[in-house]
Amino acid sequence: MKPTTQTKKRRSTKRDDSPQPVHARSSRTMFPYYPGCTLKTTAQNFEDSALATAAILGIDLVEIPRWNCCGVVSSLVENDRMHHVAPLRNIIRTQEMIAERGGEIESRLVTLCSMCTNTLRRTNLFLKENPEDLEAINDYMSLEDNYEGGVEIVHFLEILRERGFDAVTNKVSNPLEGLNAAAYYGCMLLRPKDIGIDDPEDPTIQENLISALGAAVIDTPYKKMCCGSYQTVQDRYAVAELAYDILTHAQREGAEVIITACPLCAFNLDDRQKEVRERHPDFRSIPVLYFTQLMALAFGLGEDALGFELNSVDPRPLLMAKGLLAPR
């Protein structure tokens, strides 16, 4: 999974005087990468599809060593320095990797999970804005190098946006024509405003991706509404009611699949469809995919990258019926 030296090989081009399309650029970019806990278990299909599609786009995501849980949620208590320690350790691991690898790796840490993105960004922003807190935490973490404040946290979707979605389209070998896909953002990609990756009230980043893959964008008013998050542990039927609203509103607009960037949203919207059906017998199930799985499908990748066996509602019958996935 880790990039090898072949990623650094540069194909020698004959003449370079004509402008080249984005996909023909031979250079690859290496980023430090933080997976987070759930991408190694129930959301392994998120990681597999992300690493595979990134590689096709010339992006090598290099897992930072000795990473730890980000804490999932940030403390909302004023001056709660202790809860910044776990996210900061990961940022320090990143700082070390950047120092060791010199200029060959980006100084931006790429994340996939929305909740990890949010906690890491919140801590990073807090420490950059509050030097006295940074000094105190650096002193407290005496076994670690001091954090110098030079790391940025970026979500993989932001990398796609800055490179331009045309670069994604250029790699599409299986355009998702005839597929109606709705984007679901939930909370942690968008809020609070100074942490989010897009407009908190009118996000478009996932819609742009859906279009780039050849699928039809379905807009739904519930795309920014919370799925209930960790309340799913104690109050699964309250979460099922939220999932019912989110899913059926998307279905009413014509959605056949929903994409997300969060393993917790995915659990609440996908796995909790069992509880939704208990309460609403008329409910029709709908597949919920990670945005990277939709990319892997459009890039024509195989089962190892798609990982549909981990999706609770199996998207394969729908995709086969649409001629987007070969029958097995």
């Binding site: 806990c37 208590v77 004023e78 909740m115 909370c187 809020r191 609070p192 509404m225 960790y230 309250a238």
Partner: protein, 134 residues
Amino acid sequence: MTKIMMITKEGEAFLARIQEISGEAITACDQCGTCSGSCPMASEMDITPSEMIRKTQMGQQDVLSTKAMWLCAACFACTVRCPRGIDLSKIAEALRQISLRQAVDHIDIAGIPAPERARLPQIALVGAMRKFTS
């Protein structure tokens, strides 16, 4: 008829405590209700988010026995919309902290049936433990 509402000394101390923990200017709330209109959990709550902040403004400590503060999942829908710039998710967190700092957990992990526990991803369990235990 004029109605005079009094805030007691204990109530004042309670409000000051919540302001200290949350860092939010609680008295700035005008009760416009945008938070209640934005909250996805409002229909499950016993009091609305705007009632939660009103009770806190008035120093009414019975707010601590409401379901509402526990049902806030810190989704920040109210945070981005509050016209007064108040982060209600921080106030709900401060109210939860008053209870959790008595070392009283709000979750019974052992009471969750084993098959359900096995099904839950770490992200859900860690999140719940962080918000519901001291």
